[in-house]
Subunit: 206 residues, 2 copies
DNA sequence: CACAAACTAAACTGCTTAGTTTAGTTTGTG
DNA sequence: CACAAACTAAACTAAGCAGTTTAGTTTGTG
């Protein structure tokens, strides 16, 4: 339903989005000026306003692009074909944790949270394209493990929600507010605790 | 090590901090002007600059005051004197969840996250006075439960971290980015899932 | 090469903001 | 009531910013 868009334009557009994303992640939305974005993108300010109606519109375009990326990234997230619950859960937790603390995902997370009260629809779009879709995929994996007798639990969605939540502890928060890491709460330790926790709670009794 | 401060001054100071906090929580740091704060506090702008060296300084004073409040609030957090693990864990989870989603705590959380990259020491101060101290208190409670044979686990801090993490799931995120609540992930359901999870994993075997 | 679309640098408008200054007023205290 | 500290309203400086305009340049295409 959209643009053929000449190759030259497309390249500029990408450069602008990349630059804007970098600026916003570094300095936040309000503290980033359109001139900065233009300079960083190697583009004139007039060009930015030829592509985007306003600074808000540019912000929206960035979030939407990230949503598309997330959708792609999720479908390529493959898991080991193991029949050991610990192996699978650990692999899931490692991938999730790596995602959560990656600078890009963390940066978007920070900025969406900060701007959510003023851009509720954007926050909604991001949340549904990212965390919600991700959890849906995890539900499929958990259901599959249940079917294979590797785990036993009642409500898949709530179980997955709790499992993912355990990964957002001290370690995650320290990255989020840029505190030095605490070795007692390393990513590995957090993952191990969560997996042990889950195995104890959901090991099949039968 | 500080100021006696006349009662008149102290009242104005409080009014300024209250107004500034409300403004920052509503609109974020960058989007709030000092004039707005002055108007809201019923105070002249000159008075603000008589009390605080800069807008940054004002921001810092707010975070510090919240830290003091948190420290007080935590020590008055009393728990039921029960010998049933479920009762105690549920009470803990309810209090934590109520705290997490309260507008004031949520507002500070959002703003600290958003501004953390630019105010790392403030974020650190806040984190240590709030979440970290809170978890320390929880560790005491968990240790006590272990001593009384109500729970069994290895590493207290990691266990508490995981338990608290489970409360920061879908429900919490929806509040954070102001999405309408999902009945399947109500606060009550989240608490129940987390408590069931913990009881299964940490019920004493002996 | 001619033409149109997309771009550029730079100046410009109009507005907002942090922070200061001034000149005068309120308020508690002796 | 006299005095000093704290306050006030309002004007002011200096800077930054979103967004526009202008006049001219690059670039792919027929």
């Amino acid at each position: 339903m959209e643009k053929p868009l000449s190759p030259r334009s497309a390249a500029k557009r990408t450069a602008m989005l990349d630059a804007a994303q970098a600026c916003f992640l570094e300095s936040g939305y309000a503290s980033t000026s359109v001139d900065e974005v233009a300079t960083r993108a190697g583009v004139s300010k007039a060009t930015i306003y030829a592509h985007f109606a306003s600074k808000d519109d540019l912000f929206g375009a960035i979030i939407c692009r990230r949503c598309d990326d997330q959708a792609e990234g999720l479908s390529s997230l493959s898991l080991p074909d193991s029949s050991d619950a610990r192996t699978i859960l650990t692999a899931i937790a490692q991938r999730l944790m790596a995602l959560f603390v990656s600078p890009e995902v963390m940066g978007i997370y920070r900025i969406v949270i900060a701007e959510a009260p003023r851009y509720p629809e954007l926050a909604k779009t991001w949340y549904e394209a990212g965390p919600l879709r991700g959890k849906q995929r995890l539900c499929d994996v958990f259901d599959d493990m249940k079917r294979r007798g590797l785990l036993d639990f009642d409500d898949t969605r709530r179980t997955v929600d709790a499992f993912v939540g355990m990964l957002r502890g001290e370690c995650f928060h320290r990255v989020m507010i840029e505190l030095p890491p605490n070795p007692h709460f390393s990513a590995e330790a957090t993952i191990e605790t969560a997996v042990n926790f889950a195995l104890k709670a959901f090991a099949p009794t039968a």
